[in-house]
């Protein structure tokens, strides 16, 4: 019984040590890889038959201490791209073009269905599912590209 207890405590000790060192490692890794602008769930819906327009969505996070001003430059494989906002007022929906997005320091922003979206026009090539397409923004005036993943709506 005493022996069993000793073995168990040994394992618990080893496990907790392993855990804490793993945790430290993770923190270090994160510090190294932090970008001022972090993008996740970046996706482009493959255009549907009959429609020359589609949309891209993503989650953005400003990890810096300054506001980020974001403008859209271009999207690979599309003739044109614009930031739009869908608005619903008095039961009617409309879209308006937005020139820039400002993300406050340490805040998040989302391009999401029914809200802000990147509207894309006239694909210049056939786009396949899981294809990575470069989306170029200007982040505080400096060009920066991000990979967006092409997805089918179905």
């Amino acid at each position: 019984m005493k022996y069993l207890f000793a073995v168990l405590s040994f394992f618990i000790l080893v496990a907790s040590l392993a855990n804490s060192s793993f945790g430290e490692q993770k923190i270090v890794l994160k510090q190294v890889s932090v970008d001022p602008l972090e993008i996740s769930e970046a996706r482009i819906f493959i255009p549907l038959k009959g429609s020359s327009a589609t949309a891209a969505y993503a989650k953005l996070k400003n990890n810096s201490d300054q506001d980020i001003t974001l403008t859209l430059v271009n999207v690979e494989s599309f003739s044109a791209s614009e930031i739009h906002e869908s608005l619903v007022r008095d039961g009617k929906m409309s879209m308006k073009k937005v020139d820039k997005i400002i993300i406050a320091a340490h805040k998040s922003f989302e391009f999401s269905p029914g809200g802000h979206h990147i509207m894309l026009f006239d694909a210049t090539q056939n786009i396949l599912a899981n294809q990575k397409l470069k989306v170029q923004f200007k982040v505080n005036g400096k060009a920066q590209s991000f990979d967006f993943n092409a997805l089918s709506r179905f």
Partner: protein
């Protein structure tokens, strides 16, 4: 003489009751909708030729990249969750209000990608405007020189639920999930 006065008195009361009932019924249920005609894939399509027990109607345009495909996806998902016996009793009709830039083939083919039972309609400006008035909806095409597309369309964002006569029995403003659409369908089926 007394009998005559009494008759007049009661007739007056009776007429007042009838009038009150008519006004009451009219006010509580203004009748919106009815059968309509448009174009489906190059052919005339008349609602009353093949109505379902429940018909869902939504207007939009094929180049709408955000709200319209989201709504069509939600409707497809909602219909998919219906019991098998109910599936054939419900139909979804999409009407494009972009007569200038969308062909009948575009609209029909577009909606069929979401669900092969979806009906995609468009028509002449006159036909579309008649439908819009019939169902008390709105749309407006505006020039937008700032955008690559060159125009933008503002349109009603609600699903109308029609009975076999095309009369609106319920509606769902700004549908934003398949669950709320499914609930509305079940309530009205």
């Amino acid at each position: 003489m007394k009998a005559k006065i009494l008759t007049i008195f009661f007739s007056l009361i009776l007429s007042a009751c009838v009038l009150w009932a008519v006004v009451k019924i009219n006010n509580s249920r203004p009748i919106i909708g009815g059968s309509f005609k448009a174009q489906n894939n190059g052919h005339d399509w008349i609602f009353k030729d093949e109505p379902k027990d429940l018909n869902l109607l939504y207007i939009g345009y094929v180049k709408c990249p955000d709200i319209c495909p989201m709504t069509l996806s939600f409707i497809n998902k909602a219909l998919g969750e219906l019991e098998l016996k109910d599936k054939s009793r419900v139909r979804f009709i999409f009407i494009s209000v972009d007569q200038n830039y969308e062909s009948v083939q575009d609209v029909s083919g577009y909606v069929k990608q979401f669900n092969s039972t979806f009906i995609g309609l468009n028509g002449t400006k006159n036909q579309i405007d008649q439908i819009i008035t019939l169902f008390n909806l709105t749309y407006k095409i505006e020039n937008d020189p700032k955008s690559y597309l060159g125009y933008s369309i503002t349109h009603s964002d609600r699903i109308l639920l029609l009975n076999r006569l095309g009369i609106v029995i319920s509606q769902l403003p700004s549908p934003r999930s398949s669950d709320e659409i499914l609930k509305k369908i079940r309530e009205n089926l």
